[in-house]
């Protein structure tokens, strides 16, 4: 009971920080700082995912997403010097955000059922990896080839400029 309450308090703190950092990512003027804040957002997301019990996914988010993808964004934006001036249409943005907030809240809190499960969740990682390697090896191979092709395409696009 004590652990459940502590987990809920931690989730509330992390959720509030998540929303605050997300707001900063889209409003901070300097794009370099916005990119760095995106790394913080990724770390907060990983923390919440770990709190739910998905430790493997949390590690994956930190290593692959924050450690590689977001670092790539930070380095590129720093090299470009922030990208110059930025024009904004706050009214259009606020209208779209309000609409999406209303629709998502209605969909997730009214129509979809929040699962009744105990936290943290138990994921049998060893069994999962065995299943993936035995049953889904061709799928994994296709994904890896597609990712390699994507990186080659990205290098070609960047060199063309």
């Amino acid at each position: 009971m004590v652990w459940e309450t502590a987990g809920t308090i931690l989730a509330a703190l992390l959720s509030a920080s998540l929303v605050l950092v997300a707001l900063l990512v889209v409003t901070v003027k300097d794009l370099v700082y916005a990119s760095i804040l995106l790394a913080v957002l990724g770390a907060l997301t990983a923390s919440l995912v770990a709190l739910l019990g998905y430790y493997l996914v949390a590690a994956f988010i930190i290593i692959v997403y924050v450690g590689a993808a977001v670092m790539f964004i930070i380095i590129t934006v720093s090299m470009l010097g922030g990208g110059g001036l930025e024009s904004r249409d706050h009214l259009k943005g606020a209208a779209a955000a309000s609409l999406s907030l209303a629709v998502l809240l209605i969909v997730f809190l009214s129509y979809l059922r929040v699962p009744e499960v105990g936290l943290p969740l138990y994921v049998d990682v060893a069994g999962l990896i065995d299943r993936v390697v035995v049953d889904y090896l061709p799928v994994i191979a296709i994904i890896l080839v597609a990712l390699a092709a994507t990186i080659i395409e990205a290098i070609a696009v960047a060199r063309r400029g």
Binding site: G7, T8, A11, A12, S15, L18, A22, V25, V26, L31, A34, S35, L38, T45, L48, V49, L51, L52, Y54, L56, V57, F60, Y65, A69, V70, F72, I73, L80, G83, G84, L85, E86, S87, R88, D89, K92, G93, A97, S98, L101, L105, F108, V114, P115, E116, V117, V123, D124, V125, L128, R131, I143, T150, I151, E153, A154, I155, V157, A158, G161
Partner: protein, 100 residues
């Protein structure tokens, strides 16, 4: 109802809306990419919560999602570099006028 899951759903929905705000209010390519990544973080949380009754499926789905988004980031940043070299700006309006 599990209060922790409910809190995470509400936070994820709020974060997704913040991302939509950034995506629609700005004309800057990098800002739009950052906003898209904010929405992606919200989607990770929503999938993690909504598939909590089958955590094995959720784990595989989330790992594949992270891989695909990392690839997407690489391609979009390559396009950003290419556009910046051609037009010296990241504003979609200016690049459109110059025919980049």
């Amino acid at each position: 109802m599990n209060l922790t899951l409910l809190l995470i759903i509400i936070a994820a929905v709020a974060v997704a809306s913040v991302g939509v705000y950034g995506l629609t209010s700005s004309r800057n390519f990098v800002r739009q990419l950052l906003s898209l990544e904010v929405v992606f973080n919200a989607i990770i949380l929503l999938i993690a919560v909504m598939l909590a009754s089958s955590p094995g499926v959720a784990t595989i789905l989330l790992v594949i999602l992270v891989l695909i988004v990392s690839g997407e980031v690489v391609v979009i940043m390559a396009l950003v570099i290419s556009a910046y070299r051609s037009g010296k700006s990241l504003e979609s309006d200016i690049l459109g006028e110059e025919g980049v």
